[in-house]
């Protein structure tokens, strides 16, 4: 009579934290789902102002996508190194992930500034409110992820590699991949669907 309990409930404390973090990501996903639903409902609410066709440049968004996807891939390489306990490679890969992520955030900020400069501000229409909020929430997550990454890199630099460090980088990388998935959805729903319709 083997049981589900003997396997799952004897999890190590580290594994429990990782499991809990997956559940947190689920709640964040529901948050984004609400924002996606709001965007879908309000996309047509341009109130006589510009819509997706006038504002979006899919090539620009594609470069952003590539930056973020590469950052995520590099973070994945960093985790392989983390499981091997190779601290210097972990730090190198995550530093690269940081730079690519910062590039993404810079491009997104520049695009927001550009839109605001041509009068497409968040308060111009319901469409723009929902656009800025959906992308801005993702961007805020990326910014938090970058701060997190920066703090962890500095922290890990000064101490030997151990299971605490591995757990901390594991959570960060889960968060980072999650933001990637959200961005792929944004690219599809906002940019591709928006320009197809």
């Amino acid at each position: 009579m083997t049981t589900d309990t003997e396997t799952i409930e004897q999890l190590s404390a580290d594994a429990r934290v990782v499991f809990g973090f997956w559940a947190y990501l689920l709640t964040d996903l529901v948050l984004f789902a609400s924002l996606f639903a709001t965007y879908a409902v309000l996309e047509g609410g341009t109130f006589g102002g510009p819509g997706p066709h006038q504002l979006f440049d899919v090539r620009y968004a594609f470069i952003e996508t590539m930056l973020l996807l590469t950052s995520s891939f590099v973070a994945g390489l960093g985790m392989i190194a983390a499981h091997e306990g190779a601290k210097r490679r972990v730090l190198a890969w995550f530093a690269a992930a940081f730079i690519l992520g910062a590039g993404f955030l810079g491009m997104e900020t520049a695009e927001f500034a550009h839109l605001a400069a041509i009068g497409a501000t968040p308060s111009a229409s319901a469409f723009l409110s929902s656009y800025f909020t959906l992308l801005g929430t993702h961007g805020l997550h990326v910014a938090i992820g970058l701060v997190w990454m920066g703090v962890l890199l500095v922290w890990a630099l000064r101490r030997p590699w151990d299971h605490h460090a591995e757990r901390k980088f594991m959570l960060l990388s889960l968060f980072w991949h999650f933001l990637d998935i959200i961005w792929v959805l944004i690219f599809t729903v906002v940019y591709l669907f928006g320009l197809m319709s």
């Binding site: 049981t3 799952i8 409930e9 947190y24 709640t27 309000l42 909020t133 703090v151």
Partner: protein, 664 residues
């Protein structure tokens, strides 16, 4: 922006209360806080409070704090209810009553908000904190530090809601703040902001709690406690917390969008600018309907523990109970539109949601019959938890039937927004949730504090509540049929007045019940030595929390329990009675979480950040955010968070505990 508007935001002297009743509320808050501060200082309890409670990561202590805060908030919500009943008993014809219309609107908004978010949620989360780990045979929840953060966020939200009594107004836009009324154009003051930020803060606390309890159930069960051996209370918490982690992020998003409209001039829910106010109503109820079951399921779980314990029989239909919990949890996500059939979604959509709503009555009925069959041929002890249960059976069934009436879209077009609806949901929440909490509180009280409550005061409280409830809400059903809409600060038809007066009398009898409960609590504390529970198992219980001493020691289980059957403790008692040899207790080293002040710090940051956002004190907001980030980083980089209790120390503590029990 001038310097003074940067420093003071919207704060101004004219934001202090205007009317005598508003001053009364505000002085009560200030006086209450001062009285507590003085009392703690005089008795020199600050250090004790800080060490044993505020910074504790023990779920039993956190649970007690939840219950205390929720009880205080409940008194606030109750005084709101009394003001409303008084107003409606008086305000007919030329009599304006005691409250100005705007103040009346604030009071009903605050009443609903506080009773759901701060009373019901607080009491349930408090009880779950204490009971759930013990029932699972665990020493702790999955994430003890997160638990402390959740509590302090809950506390910060509650405190922010109460600050509105002193500074500025509370929301006058109803407990769910529908736009466009809640938008800046129609509610320019601080009221909706207070509402929004206090719920945002408390809501994130509830979300984190949900995550924590869910992970506790998944990863912290005792050896041998398979899912289908868990007590039904734990199953109910599982259903409820699964709803929390799916529903509360929607609330977080919705509140944030409303605040973006109000602060940054966005157009999510505004009447102009392409906004869609029905989007808000859909989103808020996509959270709000599951919330009803988030509250109801744990209360059902409490009854599922109380009824078998006092009937001396195992719960009838365990498996069907589990499926009922799961079915209710699932269905509760596809009924939200029944809160606004009048939106105009069309006959097909309304029919779908109407039918889904009626179907919820089926699993609920399964539970009802299972409880009643559990009592059948049992040796029933009519203790006060059983009285609450039987009151629940009668009232909840009536409330359920009126719910099915409301679920029919054509009929709902008539009942919509009437006092019939108000009577319906109060029947469900008071008999279902509040009676459940009272039953659970009395039932687990000895496990929490080590002594029982005096039964006679509990029984008096029960009858006052039951009779008061029927008198207070029976008339509202009738008034609803007569056309009285909800939230009336004044009406013109004098034939309604006798019914409103009856409702007011009912409310006073409920107050009497609350007074009896307070007297009972104080009297029990004074007689705690003769009421002490030395056995640890005062009710001849069935689940693991009764296998340990009362009050539950900080290490909960000296030796980790091994579960071989459902009703694990009952099973062990049977085997002991049959003369089966007991295994010697296998003590092992255990790790327990150290105290942490970071939870308190994060709660303070949330409070000041929320206060800054309400009053547009952006420097305070930014400062709070920064402080929170620093505190959180410090905690997350700290790996030295646990302390060890060696096995021999546990054995010594356990032996001392047992010899103490034998002596008594």
């Amino acid at each position: 922006m001038t310097l003074s508007s940067f420093i003071f935001g919207r704060l101004a002297w004219d934001q202090l209360p205007h009317s005598a009743i508003a001053w009364g509320g505000s002085l009560t808050v200030i006086g209450g806080v001062l009285a507590v501060v003085i009392a703690i200082t005089v008795t020199k309890r600050w250090g004790w409070l800080w060490r044993e409670y505020a910074t504790s990561l023990d779920p039993k202590r956190i649970g007690i704090m939840y219950i205390a805060v929720a009880a205080i908030m409940g008194l606030r919500g109750l005084s709101d209810a009394v003001l409303m009943r008084t107003q409606q008993a008086l305000a007919v014809g030329s009599n304006p009553g005691i409250l100005a219309p705007d103040h009346f609107q604030q009071i009903f908004s605050a009443h609903g908000t506080i009773m759901i978010f701060f009373l019901a949620m607080g009491l349930l989360i408090g009880l779950i904190n204490i009971v759930l780990p013990l029932q699972l045979g665990s020493r702790d929840v999955a994430f003890p530090f997160l638990n402390s953060v959740s509590f302090w966020l809950f506390f910060a939200g509650a405190a922010l809601a109460n600050v509105s009594l002193v500074l500025g107004d509370f929301s006058a836009a109803g407990w769910l703040s529908y736009p466009p009324l809640s938008e800046l154009a129609y509610s320019p003051g601080t009221g909706v902001d207070y509402w929004d930020w206090s719920l945002q803060i408390a809501g994130i606390g509830s979300l984190l709690t949900g995550l924590n309890f869910l992970m506790t159930i998944f990863t912290m069960r005792a050896k041998g406690m398979r899912f289908m051996r868990m007590p039904i209370f734990a199953w109910s918490v599982l259903g409820s917390m699964a709803l929390v982690i799916f529903a509360f992020p929607i609330l977080t998003a919705t509140l944030a969008l409303l605040e973006l409209d109000r602060m940054l001039g966005m157009h999510f829910f505004t009447a102009g600018g392409g906004g869609n106010m029905m989007m808000y109503v859909n989103l808020i109820w996509a959270w709000g309907h599951p919330e009803v079951y988030i509250l109801a399921l744990p209360a059902f779980g409490i009854f599922s523990e109380v009824v078998p314990a006092f009937s001396g029989r195992r719960l009838t239909g365990y498996v069907s109970m589990v499926y009922a919990v799961v079915a209710i949890a699932f269905l509760s996500f596809i009924v939200w539109l029944h809160h606004f059939f009048t939106m105009g979604a069309g006959a097909d959509v309304n029919a779908f949601f109407g039918i889904m709503t009626m179907i919820i009555a089926v699993p609920t009925g399964v539970k009802m019959f299972n409880w009643i069959f559990t009592m059948y041929r049992g040796k029933i002890r009519f203790t006060s938890p059983m009285l609450w249960f039987m009151g629940f059976v009668v009232l909840f069934t009536m409330g359920g039937v009126t719910g099915v009436m409301l679920a029919e879209p054509p009929a709902d077009f008539q009942f919509h927004n009437s006092l019939f609806l108000v009577a319906h949901f109060h029947t469900m929440i008071i008999s279902g949730v509040v009676f459940g909490i009272f039953a659970g509180f009395t039932y687990w009280f000895p496990k929490i504090f080590g002594f029982r409550l005096i039964e006679s005061w509990q029984v008096r409280a029960f009858w006052s509540w039951l009779i008061g409830f029927i008198l207070a809400f029976g008339p509202l059903y009738i008034l609803g049929f007569m056309g009285a809409t909800r939230r009336l600060d004044h009406y013109t038809d004098p034939s309604w007045q006798p019914l409103f007066i009856t409702a007011g009398i009912g409310a006073s009898i409920i107050i009497l019940g609350v007074i009896f409960q307070a007297i009972g609590l104080i009297a029990s504390i004074r007689r705690r030595h003769e009421l002490a529970d030395t056995s640890g198992d005062p009710w001849d219980g069935r689940t693991l929390e009764w296998s340990i001493p009362s009050p539950a020691p900080f290490y909960a289980f000296a030796a980790e329990p091994v579960v071989a059957a459902r009703d694990a403790w009952w099973d062990e008692k049977q085997r002991r009675a049959a003369g089966e040899a007991q295994q010697p207790r296998a003590y092992a080293d255990i790790l327990l979480p150290k105290r942490s002040a970071i939870g308190v710090v994060l709660g303070a940051c949330a409070f000041f950040g929320g206060f800054g956002a309400v009053w547009h004190l952006w420097w305070l907001f930014a400062l709070a955010l920064l402080a929170a980030a620093v505190a959180l980083t410090r905690r997350l980089l700290d790996d030295d968070t646990e302390y060890l209790i060696p096995a021999h120390e546990l054995a010594r503590l356990d032996a001392a505990q047992r010899s103490h029990a034998d002596a008594a």
